[in-house]
Symmetry: C2
Subunit: 445 residues, 2 copies
Amino acid sequence: MSETKALANWVVKNRLEDIPEDVRREALRAIVNYTGCALGGSPDPAVNLAMQAFAPFFGPATASILGRKERVDPLHASLMNGISSHVYDYDDTTPKNYIHPSSPVASALFAYASANKVSGRDFVHAFILGFEAESRIGNSVYPAHYDVGWHITGTAGVFGAAIAIGKLIGLNEQQMIWAIGLAATQAAGLREMFGSMAKSLHPGRAAQNGYGSALLAHAGFTSGVHGLEGPRGFAAVQAAKYDLSKITAGLGVDFDLRENTYKPFPCGIVNHPTIDGAIQIHQANHPAPESIRAVRLRVAPLVMDLCNQQNITRGLQGKFSVYHGAAIGLVRGKAGIREYTDESVNDAAIKRVRESATAVGDASLTEDQANIEVELASGEKFSRFVEKSLGNINRPLTNQQLDDKFRDQAVLALPADRVERAIELCWRIDQLADVNELVQQACEN
Amino acid sequence: MSETKALANWVVKNRLEDIPEDVRREALRAIVNYTGCALGGSPDPAVNLAMQAFAPFFGPATASILGRKERVDPLHASLMNGISSHVYDYDDTTPKNYIHPSSPVASALFAYASANKVSGRDFVHAFILGFEAESRIGNSVYPAHYDVGWHITGTAGVFGAAIAIGKLIGLNEQQMIWAIGLAATQAAGLREMFGSMAKSLHPGRAAQNGYGSALLAHAGFTSGVHGLEGPRGFAAVQAAKYDLSKITAGLGVDFDLRENTYKPFPCGIVNHPTIDGAIQIHQANHPAPESIRAVRLRVAPLVMDLCNQQNITRGLQGKFSVYHGAAIGLVRGKAGIREYTDESVNDAAIKRVRESATAVGDASLTEDQANIEVELASGEKFSRFVEKSLGNINRPLTNQQLDDKFRDQAVLALPADRVERAIELCWRIDQLADVNELVQQACEN
């Protein structure tokens, strides 16, 4: 059986009872983390500008966007949820493939559920299936696909959204195969966009186009039936090397949700160990910013590939600057949303420390590790080696830390009492008769 | 200056007076051909199903779809025009890069012009700029990009639509650079979809997403500024080999529109020489279908790559079967839209002749050439060598043949008197004060 057909078959036949209990629990953590990120990003200029650009094209106002008061059609709500939830680069990651997996899937699902009655059980089930399919498809083409320059969150994400919505609307196996094919032929998103608003467009379009793929397939709009494995299909075209067996091996037994991680810092994950080390030095040694003469970083080579920007002026660029990560950790002892504003990037003390930093790639370090050395004008030196960064699968955020992270973001969009109610509903989303109960709490209405 | 910036600069500064007269004339031929194709495809099931899938999401009904009575928002009109105009694979081609160039560009422009007042001068000017940019970007990545499996009409088309709409809405240079970046990060479409409805989705989405890219850029939504040439940009990610100098060499002097061709047959262009030869044998020798024992084809190797399907049951598959092309030419002496229906593919005589055919790739043949040999049960043989297929740049369709092709298709959507009026308006679209005058003739309202 082809991978496309096998995956479609699994999704169509799967029942929530087939999903292990620990996976269902991790799904709740992922949804809590996602919802906080969507709320935090919802007032961002990227969302405002996309709303402005597409307002004349919105369909009937049947759907809600998390964190916002406007009502739009569900496809545009998917797009906006996707932009919101990724714009701060604060959403979850599966380190094995660098996908931000929840954003494309949950952005489509929340848009759908805001316009249609969906039980929490069905919502969580569709989320798990979409997440799993997306991550497995990503595994099959990682790392060649990512290395050449694809933003895998966009390219794999469109499959996750198509499969999740396809499950909710009850696609049969043939329709699910078409939905996968239609997703494959819309898989897009370039890493060249990192540091611009377009990066957050990727999960937005993935959510919207995945949703649209399911709608087209449901109507009977055909695609090629070998979207994943065909000689001109997704894997062959978008990866110089790939292993399709990763899509189906252990399907239904092994779940990538178990390996999902939640970022403690709203920036490119490869910067996290550096920030972690910088915060540790701040907390232990309190070096005054003006006393810092040099900062020397040793990092995994991928960091130099992704985050080697030093001369920056915008908050978005800061997310992809390992130098900025070191500077805010050292100067402020934290790296929250306020450390990635334009103002923070142009703050004189942060700028000076950032510009005092040098970095070298070191192939002996994993992407969870970093070494940071700070030299003061006095000649005194402090250093930290971070072996496993906070947020790593072996040092995960606790549920309490997820709540704190949710609150820090959600207050940007909602009154405090509404934030608490939304957190509480998120944790028991699987028990809600109608997910709209949560959506309504999480919208500024 | 980077290629992205140079192209944006050229488009923003260009005036219609800068375009040579012969290029403007060819633009009219391209628009006539496009409009006939959009009308012919407009009642196709692929369009009906896409309309059905997206109807609940249509925005305010300000725009028209060529050939149809429904009014929708302009982005959905772009999508539907794109599907209509390509679903029969009858639209134009630039043989140097295999792009169907007009569909993504004109589909967006007609949608825009149906909802906004646009003069014929501005319309034709934006069309030429979009066409040219799209074709040049395609040239820069062809053939590696196409060979690996990208449907270049979708991937290059999104740039054409973004640039054409961007010109009409008056983007400045920075905005045009963003529009190009936003198009780059949405460039999609896999050749795996050939033979299914999803192939026609590609120019549809290219038109819709290109239009959307221009809208986002106009609002100030940023992208990376090296969408074309960046190390993780379009060319580097989507082509193993590329030559960016083809984007800017001779810009404003050499125009790919001069090399545009119009298909005499509604199927994959690489089948055309075979069909041409088969029709010649039909006309000269009138072999009775039941007398045909064997058909032997020698074709360019690419034909075997693209059109080596023999065991087929659907009209759409016939478009990518060189065997079917030979069979309809021999049996019916023509290859019009009616020869690519499901009924025709399953016609007993055509099926028998198709199944009697064999084909071999021959690297000594160009993609405009084919050799066909027919052997009768009597042992008698007829053969034809086609050196330059009808529709080739050296054997172009005349304006009269373009009119005939328009009529053959447009009668599927419009009453005969409306067809004649639409043809007449198309030929003088550059003189219309408002292109909507043509759109209204070309809509079933």
